[in-house]
Structures are given as C-alpha cells and as structure tokens.
C-alpha cells in the first residue's frame, strides 16, 4: 500500500466518521436539548433563585444563604416543638418519613407474598395480572376522589371493616389519627399489584438448578425460600425499595386530593408547592426543594450501596 493511498483512505475514513458524528448530533439534538433544558438548566436556575427573595412579580432581591438558614430554622423549630403553623415543612418531612416507613415495606412484602402464590400453575393468571395492574394505570387524583367516598363514615370500607371488627368505624378523612393511614392504604392498594407483577417475573427468571441442588441436599421448602429465593431476589427487592422510597418521599397527588384535617397529611412536596405558589416565596421554596433533593439523593445512594443492585 503506497503512503498516498493510505492517507487517502484515512482521510476518507475520517470524513465518513465526522459525517456520522454530525448525523448523530442531528438525530439527538431535539430530544436531548428538551430534556437537558427542562432538567439540568432549570435546576441550575432554581439553585440561582434559591439565593434570592422573589415573589414572581417584584424585582428579585439577593439574600445570600438566608433561605437555607430559614429551612434549617424551620426544621429546628419543629424538632423543639414549635407551632405547627410555622413548622409545616418539618411536619411534612415527619409525615412523609412515617408514610414511607409504612408503605414501602408493606407493599414490597405484600408483592412478594402474592408473587410466590402466583408462581405456580394458576389458571386464569392473566385475569389476576390485569386486576392487580389496573390501579396503577388509573390517575391518582381520580383514585383519591373515589376513595374519599369509600372512606366516608357510613361508607363501603367501614361497612366491611365493622363486619370484621365490630364497632370499628373511624371517620377516616375527618380524623387526625386516621387520615394519613387512609392515604397509606390507598397507596399500598395502588402500587403493590404493579410490584407483584415485577416480582413474579423475577421469580420466574430464577435458575431452577439451584433449587434442584438444594433438594438433593435435603433442604425443605421454607429453607429454600429463605436461603435461596429471598437472596436471589435481593436485587429486585433493592430496586423496588429504592424506587418506592423515592416515590413516597415525593408524595403529592393523594395528599392533595384527599387531605386530612389540619396538618395531619401535609407532605414535603405539598409544603414546597404552597410556599411557591400560594405564598409566592420562590427562593425559599427552591431552597426547600434542594433540601428534599439532597435527602432523596443521600437515601438512594445509601440504599444502592446496601443492596448493590445494578441500575438498568
């Protein structure tokens, strides 16, 4: 091969790959710029806003880290037992942490149990799958509107409950002690079926050889479940716990559409939303949202390390 021919080929190749790169950029340009603009760019803008006092209308006023100081003061005030009217952000965090601590384990365990039952030769399995999946394709606001009706004192849910537990008929949505529980029940109802289908798929993908080997070694059914199935499901459990936690910490729709009395169901995002759109304290709301972001990021990071699952 003569040097001139080689360099010709090389330049041809370079030209071709440069053309390929240009075409690649053209293809991704529109979609990628929309996403990056409405995520990275607006996030940086929110970070910028969090150092200002602004109400959307009057000129912005630079206040340094004052908004962040206010966030921590509100949390500290809440820990010290300050008035609920001044510490709604703290109440939101408290409610959401409690909500997450109940909803995530319950829906995950329920999904695993259902998946184990469904993981045998079941006739009409697609009927069960459809009915379990239905809540998660329905709008959460519509679900809330229906459940507000079902949770009435004289409603359907109390009718069934009081037939099982005589005399148990709380006025769910009007009672400070029960409103958040009602929302939790709706949330568990809404997500566990969807999760169950993921767990069923994971169960069916487990290697059968391990179970055969365990049978030869004389392992019983329960031993097999606790020493083989659960460890093998660990990545899937980790994934659903992390995704469930991220979702629960940002809970908004249900709490907004089926509110309990006072601050009994206030969530963090609800408080941020009100700070921004009702009180028009944009900077403070942005600072609060970064606090939430940091909490979510930290929890996700810690859980990922613990479960060591592979993200897709």
């Amino acid at each position: 091969m003569t040097p001139s021919l080689f360099s010709n080929l090389k330049s041809l190749f370079e030209k071709k790959s440069r053309r390929e790169a240009i075409e690649g950029y053209l293809l991704i340009a529109a979609g990628t710029s929309v996403i990056l603009f409405f995520s990275i760019f607006v996030m940086l803008y929110a970070f910028y806003l969090s150092f200002f006092s602004w109400d959307f209308l009057t000129p912005m006023k630079f206040v340094g880290v004052e908004n962040y100081v206010k966030v921590f003061e509100e949390i500290w005030d809440g820990i010290c037992g300050g008035s609920p009217f001044r510490t709604q952000f703290f109440i939101g965090i408290k409610n959401v942490l409690f909500y997450t601590a109940i909803v995530v384990p319950t829906q995950t365990i329920l999904a695993i149990i259902l998946a184990v039952f469904a993981n045998q030769k079941i006739k009409g399995i697609s009927f069960y799958k459809v009915s379990y999946f239905l809540p998660s394709v329905t709008c959460s606001v519509i679900i809330a509107l229906i459940f507000v009706w079902l949770f009435q004192k004289e409603g359907l849910i109390n009718y069934f409950l009081s037939s099982m537990i005589p005399g148990f008929a709380p006025n769910w949505m009007r009672d400070v002690h029960y409103a958040l529980w009602a929302i939790m029940l709706v949330a568990i109802w809404g997500t566990s079926g969807n999760l169950m289908i993921s767990f069923l798929a994971a169960l069916q993908a487990l290697p059968q050889e391990v179970y055969e080997a365990a049978s030869i070694d004389g392992a019983g059914r329960f031993k097999k479940f606790f020493y083989i199935t659960l460890p093998l499901l660990k990545p899937m459990i980790g994934y659903s716990v992390v995704v469930g936690t991220i979702g629960c910490l940002q809970m908004f729709d249900l709490a907004y559409a089926m509110p309990g009395p006072g601050f009994s169901t206030t969530t963090v995002v609800q408080n941020i939303y009100n700070t921004c759109f009702a009180e028009s304290k944009v900077g403070l709301a942005c600072a609060k949202s970064f606090f939430l972001f940091a909490v979510i990021f930290a929890i996700t990071y810690a859980m990922r390390r613990k479960f060591r699952y592979e993200t897709t």
């Binding site: 529109a30 990628t32 995520s39 607006v42 045998q120 394709v137 959460s140 798929a201 994971a202």
Partner: protein
C-alpha cells in the same frame, strides 16, 4: 406429602389471589355501578350492586357541566401532542444513542439517565418562573413543551434498537445510505412494537399527570380532567357525590380501556425489564 403440599399451596394460592383481586377491583366496580344509580341508592348500606332504578342522571349532570367537555378536550390535546412528539423525538435519539457513533455519546447518555432521578418539584418551580416571563402560564403549551421528550423514552428506544441485529443497518450503510435515511426508512418503521409500548406509557403518564397542570393551568377553561374534577369536587358544585363518581369513571375510562386492550404488551415490557435487572 409432596403432592399434598402442592395441592394446599394451589388452593391457598387461588383463595389469596382471588380475595386480593376482589379488593383491587372493588373500587372500580363500585364506582361504575354507582355511576348508574340514584345517589340515594348509592349511599345505602349494606351496599347494593345492581342499579335500581337504572339511571344515567350522574352522567347527564357531569356532562351538562359547561366545562367538563372542555377539560376532556384539553386532556386529549395535551396527551396527543406529547405522545406524537415523544415517539418521534425519542426514537430518533434512541436510534442515535444505540447505533450512531459520535464523540461524547456515552457521557451524554449517562447525563440523560441521571436526570431521571430529579424530583419533579425541583424542576417545576424554575420552569414556572421561566414560563411566566414568556406567557406560557395558563397555556396548554406550558404542559406540552416540557413533555416533548423524556429520558426514560429515549432509554426504552435505545434498548430496543440495541436488540435489533446490526447487519440490518450495516447493509444499508454499505449501500451508501445516510443515518438519517436509515432512521426514516428502516429503523423507525421497524420499531413499531417499541413505539406502541412507548405511546401507551406516554399516554398514561400525560393523561394522569397532575402536579404540572395544577401549577401551570390557572383558569377553569384551561384545566385538564384530573385538575378540573378535583376543582369541581372541592368547590362542592354538587350536593350529591354521584356526578363526581360518574366524571371520575369517564375520565379513567380511556386509560382502563387502553390497558385492557394492550395489557399483554405493557406487562410484557415490565417483565422484560424486571428480568434484566
């Protein structure tokens, strides 16, 4: 012993699965039947399941509301625009991320994936602030524009294109086709199954979305169905609850029907990703 345990498991399995299925379906059955009842009958305890007398008055009441059809149209406009834009933009980008080599491809793609874990509220407020300067508040475009493309959609399409045989595209390259042409004539038409799944996911997402429309849409005639129904409920436009139930049933009907028709597709998609995890 072995057989009897299997038998017990099967029986218990059927009982548990059926009871849970009834619990999951109950609110749907209850609201559909109650939509055809008089409010007096829907309130009765023990609950009655067969409308007697059969009435369509709840539907008439909610449809008689001047705004309900407007909300429906708004929801349709938003969903149709988002589904159309997403299928085109996400498949273009997904194809490029899977099959076209360009500098910075991997870095850009991981950046896109990282944006998926950002809380919605973090981006909503600055978006609102920007939109308030350009007149996109109280405008359906203010919902549509941020929804034109999504990182999860690009991810889905990229996975699909990676699963297609490389030879398909190589043959066209040898024939001197540009990537833009390959996309238009080969990659896009062949991606129909993935595009279908993407369209359904995006329809469900945009039809059911609440936080964004709640913040951005201000006047009653701009509301989407979820925002409007909640508004009507909170303003207590009805003394009776049944029009709200009928309206909820109507608003949820498109998603439920689409899900029942395409459920194999959607559940398959979940199973695929769950298996890979």
């Amino acid at each position: 012993m072995r057989l009897s345990f299997r038998l017990i498991m099967a029986i218990v399995g059927y009982i548990v699965l059926t009871v849970v299925a009834i619990i999951y379906l109950m609110p749907f059955i209850r609201s559909i039947t109650a939509s055809f009842m008089t409010w007096e009958q829907a309130q009765r305890m023990p609950p009655e399941w067969i409308p007697d007398p059969f009435t369509t008055r709840p539907f008439e009441q909610i449809l008689g509301l001047k705004y309900f059809p407007v909300w429906l149209i708004n929801s349709v406009i938003i969903s149709a625009s988002i589904v159309t834009a997403q299928t085109i933009l996400a498949s273009m980008a997904g194809f490029a991320f899977a099959r076209v080599k360009f500098p910075g491809r991997e870095m850009l793609f991981s950046l896109l994936l990282a944006t998926m874990m950002m809380p919605g509220i973090v981006t909503l407020m600055p978006t609102y602030a920007l939109f308030s300067k350009v007149g996109l508040i109280d405008n359906l475009l203010g919902i549509i524009i941020p929804g034109l493309c999504g990182a999860s959609s690009i991810f889905l399409m990229r996975q699909y294109y990676l699963s297609m045989p490389q030879d398909l595209f190589d043959a066209a390259r040898v024939d001197g086709c540009t990537f833009l042409k390959i996309f238009r004539h080969i990659a896009f038409p062949l991606a129909r199954p993935a595009l279908g799944a993407l369209a359904i996911y995006q329809f469900l997402g945009s039809w059911n979305s609440f936080l964004g429309p709640l913040a951005i849409l201000k006047s009653i005639e701009k509301f989407t169905l979820p925002v409007g129904l909640l508004f009507a409920f909170n303003r207590a436009w009805y003394v009776e609850y049944s029009p709200i139930i009928a309206g909820s049933t109507l608003a949820a009907a498109p998603t439920i029907i689409i899900f029942i028709i395409f459920n194999k597709y959607l559940i398959k998609g979940i199973q695929l990703t769950a298996g890979k995890r």
